[in-house]
Amino acid sequence: MFRSEVKPAVLRQVVDTVSIIVGEGKFRVNQDGMSLKSVDPTHVAMVDLELNRSAFESFEADDQELGIDIEKLKNVLRSATPSDVITLHLDEESNRLILNMGNLMRSMSLLDTRHMTDPKIPDIELPAIVVMDGEELERGIKAAENVSDHVIISMDNESFELRAEGDTDSVDLKIPNDLLLDLKCDKRVKSIFALSYFSNMIRAARASKVVKIGLGVDYPVKIEFDIAGGKGHVLYLLAPRIPG
């Protein structure tokens, strides 16, 4: 059994954060809410999403998995207006997810979840953590995209820095400690990431304004932020590129 009501904006945040990692998602629902762990096909990036039941207008679910075509759900959401409340329920007989928005009913067949893997989220200890305004970071990324396809992220106890180096041009965004919301960094750390993934992750964090980034030396980055007004949480992991 699964039946819930949710505002389109909340569902849209879920779709936007997951769709940059996978096209098909295995959502787990239970009495606590909804969650998903997925790794992208190339095993470079991962998402761990939790959405508390309180993020929904109403929520009832037995413990089960729903295989959802994220692109399809994205399309369905295009026909929702902000004032709608979407009713979602599982029609077990036909194995379809039924969405009602006002007078509009949309049914979506669910995907077979048996071949979808259950990735383990690696327990990664990162020596440096920064909490900052996501908007400022987004500005840096936009500039970086014009000069390179990867970014160098570094931190020390005084600042956070994003650099991109092209053949002839470069971009440098340096934010001093006093403009950051929090910075814990004992030694200098630096890693390089594919900009395509990194920028999508930072853009997905737009929903929350505040983003937390964990960084190491040539190690995966952890990007965390809240969604649904603090009633949901997203964690991304992204594997680094080898320098040189």
């Binding site: 096909p41 095993h43 383990k120 690696p122 992991l237 594997a239």
Partner: protein, 409 residues
């Protein structure tokens, strides 16, 4: 530049090619000329058609007609040309007279455009009687994407017996609610040869009624390769990866092909190396190397290296889907000096297909598979690695499981 050909006249190999392309063309032109020295041209079209590009959106359109009768399908079916020499191919093509009438691309109701469309949908060779405005003239024309083209002649009128249309193509053509994209994919699934889909695509046979247009042959070839291989690519992504490194190879028309499949999700790259004095590197003193690649999501911009990229992608996705597997695929091509004239992208599609029909060698690591490059190709491995964006990407981008220990993700 002063013409080397004038100094050489086919005797000194000044251009560095191992045979004189001018002489090869001239020989076939002389053979054909005596047969077509007239304003009447009677023969069986393979069936073949050509839609030109110059003057777009008003382009030259017409059937290809050889001055001979019978089953001439071999002359315009590149799927049958693997194993043929460059002389064979020039021979086939120089006997096909390219008749032409200028028609606007939207003007698919034009009488000649309709006949040409029916010819492109025909199931077998068709007897045609053409009246020409001028005698056929010109030599064989070569291009990277289109098969070599024979002498051309402006067309005055065309008489023909009834055409028996291929039923599968006719059905899609008659359906004016079916978009061109799915029509092409359906025809491919029905087993229609790529070259026939391409021909009928160029004559505006498919698509929604209002959107139908003539499509220059060279664009039609790549559009069809792209449409089909995109659809195959999305299907193979639903399947597991292969579980070994594979090397396939072949040689055709002095082109060497090395195809590496890796047990990873879809990625694809074609790297071409042109020796000095081959078709596309006439004056260079060094071997020129070019590549185009795509990651898991494919690419949005047209491939730098052109239509051959899509033709080879069709061949590899077709092979992988037949096994219900996916893989990362790297194709290396060396064009050696015997490749004196371009013969069209079919060369790429059909030779890659041919290589993939052969037995492959299996390896358990990328390094050992790559070592095989040294045995097959002249250009050193390091040079290939330097020029490969997917090998670079595999080397530089780490994966999450490398940080977790033995359990994997």
């Amino acid at each position: 530049m002063k013409s080397l050909c004038v100094l050489c006249r086919g005797t000194k190999a000044l251009c560095g090619k191992n045979r004189c392309p001018v002489l090869v063309r001239a020989r076939y032109w002389n053979q054909t000329r005596s047969l077509i020295d007239s304003l009447e041209l009677n023969g069986s079209s393979p069936p073949g058609v050509f839609v030109g590009r110059y003057g777009y959106p008003k382009v030259f359109v017409g059937p290809l007609i050889p001055p001979i009768h019978g089953d001439t399908s071999l002359l315009d079916t590149p799927e049958l040309w693997v194993g043929k020499t460059i002389d064979d191919i020039v021979g086939f093509r120089s006997s096909l007279i390219r008749t032409k009438v200028p028609i606007k691309i939207e003007d698919t109701d034009n009488k000649i455009a309709e006949i040409v469309r029916d010819i492109s949908l025909a199931g077998s060779s068709i007897d045609l009687e053409a009246t020409l405005l001028k005698k056929p003239f010109g030599r064989v024309v070569f291009s990277d994407s289109v098969q070599p083209l024979g002498p051309s002649a402006p067309l005055k009128s065309l008489d023909l017996s009834t055409i028996k249309l291929d039923q599968k193509m006719e059905r899609r053509s008659a359906d004016t609610d079916l978009k061109a994209n799915p029509a092409v994919i359906e025809l491919y699934k029905d087993g229609i040869e790529i070259s026939r889909i391409e021909k009928s695509f160029s004559t505006g046979s498919y698509g929604l009624k209002r959107g139908r247009k003539l499509v220059p042959t060279r664009w039609a070839i790549t559009a069809v390769d792209d449409i089909i291989s995109k659809s195959l690519r999305e299907k193979i992504k639903e399947h597991p990866t292969i579980d070994e490194y594979r090397v396939y190879r072949t040689i055709g028309i002095d082109n060497r092909w090395f195809i590496l499949m890796m047990p990873l999700v879809w990625m694809y790259e074609l790297i071409e190396a042109w020796y000095p004095n081959t078709t596309w590197n006439l004056y260079g003193g060094e071997t020129a190397i070019y590549n185009s690649a795509e990651g898991y999501e494919g690419r949005k911009k047209y491939a730098e290296i052109g239509g051959c990229y899509y033709a080879a992608r069709l061949a590899v996705t077709e092979k992988l889907l037949s096994e219900r597997r996916q893989a990362a695929v790297l194709i290396l091509r060396e064009a050696h000096p015997g490749y004196i004239m371009p013969v069209g992208v079919w060369n790429v599609r059909e030779h890659v297909r041919d290589a993939l029909k052969k037995k492959y060698q299996s390896y358990d690591s990328l390094d050992s598979a790559l070592e095989e490059v040294m045995k097959v190709m002249d250009i050193p491995l390091l040079k290939w690695i330097e020029n490969s964006s997917i090998l670079g990407e595999l080397k530089r981008q780490r994966r999450l499981e490398e940080f977790i220990g033995d359990d994997g993700i």
